[in-house]
């Protein structure tokens, strides 16, 4: 507890400090390349029958929304006087963003990554190493994201005096879910201004994929008070909800406690944590950020699921119709556009959080894409 209490205190002070916010805004603009565009996807709109806008987080430096949070936390780590950074990663997007931020500030960086993910996300492993990070494959448990997080926590408790643990998702112990959300709300704040400028109205629906849920909460949060804006999170249904091989903690899990957070979890009858399954390494987490569990319980947001096959189809469709290769994670949100479009109608405005780009996924999806034709 003392390390997370110290973090909570340091974050509260940084958040209230204008100098900190100004420094962060400067890096987001000049280094990350914000604001990211809000782009009207004409052909996807025609295809699905609604006005579909893409919030282009994949155009950020490092290719995903993960860098927003990393810039915030690395500045916090520096303020706290920490000299070593550790992180966990699933798809490698957060690992790459962390390694990038560490390179920028000359801080040593260790990234824990499940051995299974090291294999299926080879390009990102190479990028992290190129950026000077040490990638430690984690063999324990299911050798995916949750095990990487276990290992990072073990490292942190052993080296807490000099080490900052940079969590990439809206999960883990307080204050991480709140802090990660705060750093990701730049997505929703920009979207709000951009859509008002472009359409003169708020969107009818927001759609984003949900693993731990950081890009979704970042997009949703500035719209929570706008009752007319429907919120859709899309979880990974893997091989199908009935197969039991999925990563949909809200749609297929029960409340529990893991990694210091009380939320929905994939677990067996004895409370043992189950392995999550998804073609997308970034959604392969058996829990979900606690704020999403709350949004679902109060009925503010709805959570759909997309299978591996649906995500692959949407992945290919987005590439062909818009010339954008999305991350497999984001493809889960794209896969539910028809459903959301049907609800809002032809004149309805939908903003989809395109959280990352898909270059990293090409090698792993190639054989399955060929089967899809």
């Amino acid at each position: 507890m003392p390390p997370v209490l110290a973090l909570e205190d340091a974050y509260a002070r940084a958040k209230a400090d204008e100098a900190f916010q100004a420094e962060l805004a400067g890096y987001l603009k000049d280094y990350v390349g914000r604001p990211s565009p809000l782009y009207f996807a004409r052909r996807l709109s025609e295809h699905h029958g609604a006005k579909i806008w893409l919030k282009r987080e994949e155009l950020n430096h490092t290719g995903s929304h993960k860098i927003n949070n990393c810039m915030g936390q690395i500045l916090l780590a520096r303020r706290m006087g920490k000299t070593r950074i550790i992180a966990e990663t699933g798809a490698g997007q957060h690992g790459v963003a962390t390694a990038t931020a560490c390179a920028l500030f000359g801080l040593p960086c260790v990234v824990y990554m499940g051995a299974v993910d090291v294999e299926r996300q080879a390009p990102n492993v190479l990028r992290m190493r190129l950026l000077g990070a040490e990638v430690r494959p984690v063999e324990s448990g299911s050798a995916t994201l949750k095990d990487a997080m276990n290992e990072a926590l073990r490292d942190w408790v052993a080296n807490v005096s000099d080490t900052y643990y940079l969590i990439g998702s809206a999960a883990g112990p307080h204050p991480y879910p709140v802090m990660v959300r705060d750093f990701q709300t730049v997505i929703g704040r920009e979207t709000r201004a951009q859509i008002l400028e472009a359409e003169g109205a708020l969107p009818d629906a927001l759609v984003a994929c949900v693993g731990g849920g950081s890009n979704a909460i970042g997009l949703f949060h500035p719209f929570l008070a706008d009752d007319g804006v429907r919120l859709f999170g899309v979880e990974a249904a893997g091989e199908g909800m009935k197969s039991g091989r999925h990563a949909a903690a809200l749609s297929g899990g029960r409340p529990g406690v893991l990694h210091g957070a009380h939320s929905y979890l994939l677990q067996d009858g004895d409370g043992q944590i189950l392995e999550a399954h998804s073609i997308s390494a970034g959604l392969d987490y058996p829990g979900i950020g606690p704020e999403h569990a709350w949004l679902r319980e109060v009925g503010r947001a709805r959570y759909l699921t997309a299978t591996d096959d649906e995500a692959l189809e949407a992945f290919a469709l987005c590439a062909r119709l818009e010339g954008i290769v999305p991350a497999l994670e984001s493809a889960h949100a794209l896969a539910k556009l028809s459903e959301v479009a049907a609800e809002v109608g032809r004149d309805g405005i939908v903003v989809l959080g395109l959280s990352g780009r898909g270059d990293k996924d090409l090698a792993s999806v190639a054989p399955r894409l060929e089967r899809l034709g």
Binding site: M1, P2, P3, S140, G141, K146, D147, M149, N150, L153, R154, V157, A158, N159, V160, S161, G256, V257, L258, H259, G260, L265, Q267, G269, D270, G271, Q272, I273, L274
Partner: protein
């Protein structure tokens, strides 16, 4: 019994002028039958108190050795009901050795806190250590356990300062478990002088006995800790014996009980010889 059984044991040892030796094993490691023979043999080998690990799929406070033990137990089919069945059987032959379960919160929460407390009390469990439940969040469990006279044993670490020790000590029962290293089980070793200072701080914050664990791997080390604390917990060194026996295709039970006997002897003679 329950809290009273823990108190009686520490009081008796205080009269003898020595520390408690508390071995930790994972319930069901490597399988229910072998684990039973180990558990049954512990008091005879010199265990004054037993810490029985509830296996969990994601033991983030444990080093590789205990992770492997928990994985073996789960793979062999152990679950919370199985652990309590093991305890029931233990109490048919031993009613004086306190047993505390040590585990993670989710399987306990999953049972329902009151239901867990009731079945644990029925099975003859005396207390519970939940490594991923901070005192700020522990009141519901403390209430449930308290209603059955079971102790919720709190953890203190080298990062626990005096102000926080007061929070830890509040509502603590049975004993206070001092984690002697910043880190996971069975990896690092802190120096005895530092531990002595920290144990003194913990003693100032609580009237309860203070047991020390994490990073005690040898009999010599156990004896050193026995001179400064009220209890000495050894876990990874025992679970490692199981791993090694399995690798050699040997029955782990005799080897584990031999090691327990050697360490218990070292703890017993620590204060007279030192």
């Amino acid at each position: 019994m329950s809290i009273a059984r823990i108190e009686a044991r520490f009081a008796a040892l205080a009269r003898e002028g020595r520390a408690a030796f508390a071995p930790y094993v994972v319930a069901g490691d490597p399988d229910a039958e072998t684990a039973w023979r180990i558990l049954e043999g512990l008091p005879g080998a010199g265990a004054d108190l037993i810490e029985l690990g509830l296996p969990f799929s994601d033991p983030m406070a444990d080093g590789p050795t205990i992770q492997r033990g928990a994985a073996r137990a789960l793979a062999a089919g152990m679950d919370t009901a199985g652990v309590l069945a093991l305890m029931h059987r233990f109490r048919t032959s031993d009613t004086s050795t306190p047993v505390v379960l040590m585990g993670y919160y989710n399987p306990i929460l999953n049972c329902g806190l009151d239901a867990f407390a009731a079945t644990a009390a029925d099975a003859g469990v005396d207390g519970l250590i939940v490594v991923d439940l901070p005192p700020e969040e522990a009141d519901p469990l403390a209430d449930a356990l308290g209603a059955r006279d079971l102790a919720l044993i709190r953890l203190a670490t080298p990062t626990t300062d005096e102000a926080r020790l007061a929070i830890v000590a509040h509502r603590s029962a049975g004993f206070v478990y001092f984690v002697s290293v910043t880190g996971v089980t069975g990896v690092k070793e802190a120096d005895a002088a530092t531990i002595a200072t920290q144990v003194a701080l913990a003693r100032a914050a609580t009237r309860l006995p203070v047991a020390v664990g994490f990073g005690i791997r040898t009999a010599q080390r156990a004896a050193e800790i026995a001179r400064i604390a009220d209890g000495v917990v050894v876990g990874s060194a025992l679970v490692e014996e199981i791993s090694q026996s399995l690798a050699l295709n040997r029955d782990p039970a005799p080897k584990v009980l031999d090691t327990v006997a050697t360490m218990a002897q070292a703890v017993r003679s620590a204060r007279t010889s030192g």
